[in-house]
Symmetry: none
Subunit: 194 residues, 4 copies
DNA sequence: CATGAATGAGTATTCATTCAT
DNA sequence: CATGAATGAATACTCATTCAT
């Protein structure tokens, strides 16, 4: 008879929020952002249309929140606890970790590529891009190449990251055919055992 | 003011068709496919909405025709007239040519990436992908690697093409910052002057 | 912490009821009736949405109850305790009282004008209008004019009340500029000191 | 077979525009602004929902255009071609004209009162109010009272206009009972034959 | 051939109201 | 008594497509 406690409500809200974000990500990745309707998200999540608006003010905001969550997710992928300087072993681990996460999060990566290509989200992307990727990851890789005597470390970093993008993209949009495991070995071979 | 000949009419039709295709490609690349309306295409092309339906039965068909034209275009990029076997010099030329065409056709490449990511166009893509890329280009590159004694030519081909994708993508969506010219030199260095 | 008595409960209910009615009136006046949501009323009153439905079965009923309370309020404004016949002095007092109440209850009057204009509330209005205005006030004023030898007392009454409406309206929707005090003097001058 | 001429299209557009504006005004006046749906306007006008958006970008804009047209309309009511100075005769004519237009345009006036009361339109109102009413009409009336030796011409103007508002309002919302004709005579008597 | 007015199915969004706790 | 999550009907608005001229 008495109302739920604040904690119970908070739990419900958090759970629902996660559910909606997850369902939306999945459908966005599978069908494209503008081809996914709020209705579909609601149906797939087993809730009503209206409820989504109880958690997000608009489809736009829902998208932004997915991006935010994605960036967080992405951030958690690399440089968890060390100083930003990669040893050779750590580089190996980094690459293996990247590929592992790639394989586990195909939807997520599909979504990220989609976003990159979505002109309407370009601005958002750019914001996060410079904030996250450019700073942490970029610097880390560049330092690795510098300390490992690559000829032009900065250019090598551009190359390395672009190459990774290409491989991710090929895998994500052609997962059955693309030889991701052998590719991983090739990359490790080439960058960690010169 | 004599009535036009059949040939003149055909020419007019063909010109209009090209105009519509080109305008649509441009807008698709700039704004995304589903964010571009028939209205906008018509306005930018300086014609009426109705006329577009005189040339294409639907937006869907318009899209398909752009894809077909794009594939043709893509096809024209490489190996125009030789036997499908690349010498080292030809590989250099190939790479330079690719980059040149990339820089001249940013809209076109943006559109291609968009398409790749657009789930609704996925099957179209797949059809052309296996038809074109797999056959001509793939084989040509693979042969190059085989004849130049790369360790695992097939894997190297996957790598090479994925890497190119990544570089194209990075350039197309970040053309001011991405060092495309130095990147070209790096690739030539690495693949043609081992 | 002994359980509350029935009277205490009744008091609480009555207070809550007043709170809701007052808050709703305020918001209705400020934002318009259909632009005010139950949510907003609840928030401003510091209670939950659901609770409002514990006191009123619908927004519609809430509105009706506000109208009823308003009419009561309106009723209390004039002729508190005398016989319905106005002396000149009482007329002065009546006018002064009216203006005083107007200035103290801008929200209330705004709401009344809103209601008058709201077609959905029209029938409610009409009911109360004939019930209240027509009877008590109308007759009182008409009698005043008759006993003070105005030429056409009935027409004068219509005029007088319409004029008051106009002045109220102008003041309520333009309170900074409208010279309500001087207007009051003018009216008194004109109707009580001929 | 050939398309319509520019003029034909312009005519169609103008006609449709008028039709939509008129229908909307009528329904707004009858049902209230927020209780009138685009659907209803379309149905009553005998056209489709979508067409309305071919002429107005939003319900909001439709409302604004009605207001603009209304203000124009209102403007045309008084002082068409003279110098802004009213003789007694002209004042009589002005009052008669006002009442005549009032009776012919009940919907229009209902709509104006609605607007006055609609908080969301307040800003728009204020803009036009100072622009039109304050300038032309206000000055004209004030001058009349000054030149006819009324004691406090400015206050008298406020009074006169507020009184007119009240009378209009009473007539518009109670047209069967309110004695508008006799009221007109009373006003003329009082202000033109002192 | 060409035009743009017109349609209507589809989508995002709002909000009164219900109900489990 | 009280809470706020949940529902769904209602509504504004978009846009591919049709068609009379």
């Amino acid at each position: 008879m008495s109302p739920r406690t604040k904690e119970q409500y908070a739990k419900i809200r958090e759970d629902r929020r996660e559910l909606i974000l997850g369902t939306a990500l999945e459908l966005f990745a599978k069908q494209g952002i503008s081809h996914t309707t709020i209705q579909q998200i609601a149906k797939k999540a087993g809730i009503s249309k209206g409820l989504i608006y109880n958690y997000f003010t608009s489809k736009e905001e829902l998208l932004e929140e997915i991006i935010k969550a994605s960036v967080k997710h992405l951030y958690a992928f690399f440089d968890p606890d060390h100083d930003g300087i990669l040893t050779t072993e750590e580089m190996v681990y980094f690459i293996e970790q990247q590929v592992r996460m790639l394989m586990l999060n195909i939807d997520f990566w599909k979504f990220l590529f989609m976003l990159l290509v979505q002109p309407s989200a370009q601005e958002l992307i750019r914001r996060f891009q410079s904030e996250i990727l450019s700073s942490g990851m970029w610097r880390m890789i560049a330092t690795y190449f510098r300390t490992h005597n690559f000829k032009d470390p900065e250019l090598e970093t551009w190359f390395f990251l672009a190459m990774l993008d290409g491989i991710y993209m090929n895998y994500v949009f052609n997962p059955e055919k693309f030889p991701i495991d052998r590719m991983k070995e090739l990359i490790i071979q080439r960058y960690c055992k010169p």
